[in-house]
């Protein structure tokens, strides 16, 4: 299974190259890949149907619990088969849809990557490797949605999809980590065995919330649903793929996968049912208000996803059964309808409902496909959609609210199905829309296959889907004995009555669509409070405030920066000193004052006086001289306290500094007075605070200092005997700690280099010497 992923990624990477060399025939390898994978996965069928999960383990980064652990059970296999099967068709379809596009190679790159990521996602047993593929789908869908990068709409939608699913992804990451901590395991199978621990752990609620946020964003559940309709900006094959079996179904998959672990507490069930119910209703209501074919489909997808989430929320055997069958049915018909819509769009140049009439006369096969799919969507016998719908009703019979929600969605589906299956293609009486060109084989063949698939699965429901779906159901319920029996005909049950009622009501809604669309425009102001607007408001607001904030913080005034730093330093140090309250013994200090010699006192006052003078003077030359004076005084102190080397160095360096100043004096800014007015006191205050603090620290450290250090003794002992020098300071500099000196002379060399280039490399003078 790892090889499937690796081959997928490799094929994806070479796609642009293949496109360059093979031109439009790039489709052959690209479509062949999913086909081969489909066949490959088919070979697992007997084993999986027999109730054995196929597992594979590859070590990746065990230190953080991420290994490539694959596990192909019923649920995974259903998804894998759907993904590869649809993948083949979509790849082929895209070659017709994007014929002649110079970026076709990139398109295949993204699409193949996307498909591979989806495959990896559904096969992963390791929760983190699932997450990795999860994020990969986000990224590759971003690139796909933004494929028409020249259009602003496309870029914005792609970005929105990425950010929303990215938000979810991060929440999911948090949730998964919490789960792994609470269970002490990194795999779904491990989570399942540790289920009791997970349920009791304090992390249960946050983990559930975070994980569900992740799934909801991905599966376009309320209130994160808004990105999905906007993602229509993608080329239609992508939309078809995204809406039918991939991306949005990833969330459903994960919820289903986690359901056996996390289900039980009320929060799980009620959250899912509430969110799913709202989403289903919302999707249904919104779908009826739109006239863009793709938008209609997008909102029905949202509604369908809502239904699936609701079903998982109910969590009973029939509900799971309903979810699985409905999901399969939905994948088939939704894929078909999207592909057909793409074909219409491609051939007529519009997707606007009011401009499309009697297309069937030009596009027979597409029309046929659409009608078949619509029948499945409406839930007409003998399509698989019928079985799905029956099961949905059966599962939601327990509660009136749920039943109402399901009915509402069902009615909408019927109305939409009529629009697609009849209104656009076959309805008589209007002028038919003119085509710009005829649909090529790649454009109508794939939807036809899918549509027929929907019919075939319905007719052969005993043969193929039942055993597989049964395994899927067992995986979701974690119950190896759960039975799933599907049949086309249940006999005359209340559910059948509901089905018929749905069809009738659906037809009625279809009839009143014109009115609904007319009314819809009055609802426009309401959208201002919708999540989409909210997203944009947050987006803009965030940008605006971020800008204002940063401008305020990073305001370009050096002194403010210095002040923040000093505040931080002083604040922290004052706090620590206040907390630890190390005392200073002042009596001893006062006693020590006797030892002061007069000349020391003179120098001390000289420095203080010089500093005060420096504060007031307005002459450059004077301040340089006074500064030199302070430096020389420091040198004097060094001499007085036994540091002749330092003193000499200080003297010489002070001299040199003065010389440098003098050399550059006439180039330095004149000393015009720049007052700070009100800020002055602030500066004085912080400077004083800082000065006092440093004084305190010095006094404190002086008091606490070690009387003698190991180093001093060692150097005193060995300086002459082993290092052949009597001047210990010098010996330290050149021998004991010679490396410091090496670094230090490097600093000097670099300083000279820097100064040289600073003065000589001068753009105003053309940068010449």
């Amino acid at each position: 299974m790892l090889y499937a992923i690796v081959i997928g990624i490799i094929t994806a990477t070479v796609a642009p190259l293949l496109h360059r060399t093979m031109g439009r025939f790039v489709v052959i390898p690209m479509a062949l890949l999913p086909l081969l994978l489909f066949i490959y996965f088919c070979t697992f069928m007997p084993e999986v149907v027999g109730g054995h999960a196929v597992t594979q383990q590859h070590v990746w980064v065990p230190e953080v619990g991420i290994n490539l652990q694959f596990r192909l059970d019923g649920l995974s296999l259903i998804f894998a088969l759907l993904i590869t099967f649809f993948g083949t068709l979509v790849m082929y379809y895209a070659s017709g849809y994007l014929d002649g596009d110079p970026l076709l190679g990139n398109f295949y790159l993204y699409l193949t990557l996307f498909m591979t990521a989806m495959l990896g996602l559904v096969m992963s047993d390791n929760i983190f490797s699932l997450f990795i593929f999860w994020e990969l789908t986000s990224i590759s869908s971003y690139l796909l949605i933004g494929y028409k990068q020249a259009e602003k709409d496309s870029r914005v939608s792609a970005w929105q999809a990425l950010l929303v699913t990215g938000l979810g992804g991060l929440a999911l990451l948090g949730g998964l980590i919490l789960l792994s901590i609470s269970a002490g395991s990194y795999t779904f199978s491990g989570l399942l065995t540790q289920r009791a621990d997970v349920l009791q752990h304090a992390f249960y609620v946050p983990a559930v919330v975070l994980t569900l946020i992740g799934c909801f964003t991905k599966s376009a559940q309320f209130p994160f649903h808004f990105w999905l309709p906007n993602a229509m900006a993608a080329p239609t094959p992508v939309s078809a793929y995204l809406h039918s079996v991939t991306m949005v179904k990833a969330g459903i998959y994960l919820i289903a996968r986690l359901s056996p672990v996390l289900a039980g507490p009320d929060i799980w069930h009620y959250t899912l049912m509430t969110v799913g119910g709202i989403t289903a209703t919302l999707g249904a209501v919104l779908a009826l208000q739109h006239t863009d074919l793709k938008a209609i489909l997008a909102y029905t997808t949202i509604s369908a996803l809502g239904l699936m989430v609701t079903m998982i929320g109910i969590g009973t055997d029939p509900a799971m059964k309903a979810m699985l069958v409905f999901m399969t049915a939905h994948a088939l018909y939704k894929g078909t309808l999207f592909l057909v819509t793409g074909c219409i769009d491609h051939c007529t140049g519009t997707r606007e409902l009011s401009k499309l009439y009697r297309l069937g006369s030009h596009m027979k096969y597409s029309g046929l496909a659409a009608s078949l799919a619509a029948l499945s969507m409406a839930g007409v016998i003998p399509f698989i959609g019928f079985i799905g719908k029956e099961l949905l009703y059966e599962a939601s019979l327990s509660s009136y609210v749920l039943l109402a929600v399901t009915m509402l969605s069902g009615i909408t589906f019927v109305a939409v199905a009529i629009v697609f299956g009849y209104r656009v293609f076959w309805r008589k009486g209007e002028d038919k829309t003119q085509l710009q060109h005829h649909a090529g084989f790649p454009l109508y063949f794939p939807p036809l296959v899918l549509a027929i698939g929907g019919l075939a699965l319905g007719l052969l429901v005993h043969l193929v889907p039942t055993p597989l779906l049964q395994q899927g159901m067992r995986a979701i319920l974690a119950n190896p004995n759960a039975e799933l029996k599907l049949s086309l005909w249940h006999g005359f049950t209340p559910v059948l009555g509901l089905s018929v009622l749905t069809l009738l009501l659906g037809y009625a809604v279809y009839k009143s669509l014109t009115v609904l669309h007319y009314r819809a425009s009055t609802l426009k102001p309401l959208y201002r409070y919708g999540p989409n607007t909210l997203y944009h408001m947050m987006f803009e607001g965030f940008l605006h405030h971020a800008k204002a904030f940063i401008l305020w913080l990073q305001d370009g005034y050096l002194r403010n920066y210095v002040m923040y730093i000093m505040f931080f330093f002083c604040g922290l140090l004052y706090f620590i000193l206040w907390r630890d309250t190390p005392g200073i013994d002042f009596t001893n200090r006062i006693y020590q004052l006797h030892e002061i010699r007069l000349y020391e006192l003179v120098v001390f006052f000289l420095v203080i006086a010089a500093l005060i003078f420096l504060l007031g003077t307005r002459s450059r030359l004077t301040s340089i001289v006074v500064m030199g004076l302070v430096g020389y005084s420091a040198a004097l102190f060094y001499i007085l306290f036994g540091a002749p080397d330092v003193a000499a160095t200080q003297l010489l360096i002070e001299t040199l500094t003065v010389v440098i100043f003098v050399l550059l004096l006439h180039k330095l800014p004149a000393f015009t007075y720049l007052s700070h007015q009100f800020q002055k006191y602030k500066f004085i205050a912080i400077s004083a605070l800082f000065g006092i603090l440093m004084t305190y620290v010095m006094l404190l450290v002086q008091q606490q200092a070690m009387s003698t250090s190991e180093l001093k003794e060692y150097f005193g002992k060995t300086s002459y005997l082993e290092a052949h020098g009597r001047n210990i300071v010098n010996v330290i500099l050149v021998d004991f700690r010679g490396l410091d000196t090496l670094g230090e002379i490097t600093v000097l060399a670099v300083a000279a280099l820097g100064i040289f280039s600073l003065l000589r490399l001068n753009p105003e003078r053309g940068g010449k010497q």
Binding site: D555, R559, G642, D645, F690, D740
Partner: protein, 117 residues
Amino acid sequence: METLLPLMVGTLFAVGLYFILHRHLFKVILGLILFSLATNLFLFVVGGITRGSSAIISEEKSTATEPYADPVPQALLLTAVVIGFGIQSFAIVLIRRVYQTFKSNNLDELRKENEAQ
């Protein structure tokens, strides 16, 4: 003197910082130099000051005899002084170039290319 020196160094720190906070280029560089001087003296004061006896082994002895000043802070200080000199001279030249380029001695006028915008 052990008590007075910290006072002096503290004042030096305060004055240095006050100058650095100034918006006049020249004062900023003065501030930097004073600050560096203050840091050096801090190191010196903190390292323990011993009056008179420098860390040199006298001719007739082969090891140093107490009392002698701790040579380690002195060595560190010497290194620091020289490094400080390198950086100071770079800073002085930089200020000169800034002044030459911007034709202004006011730091506030330099922020035409605001960094956050």
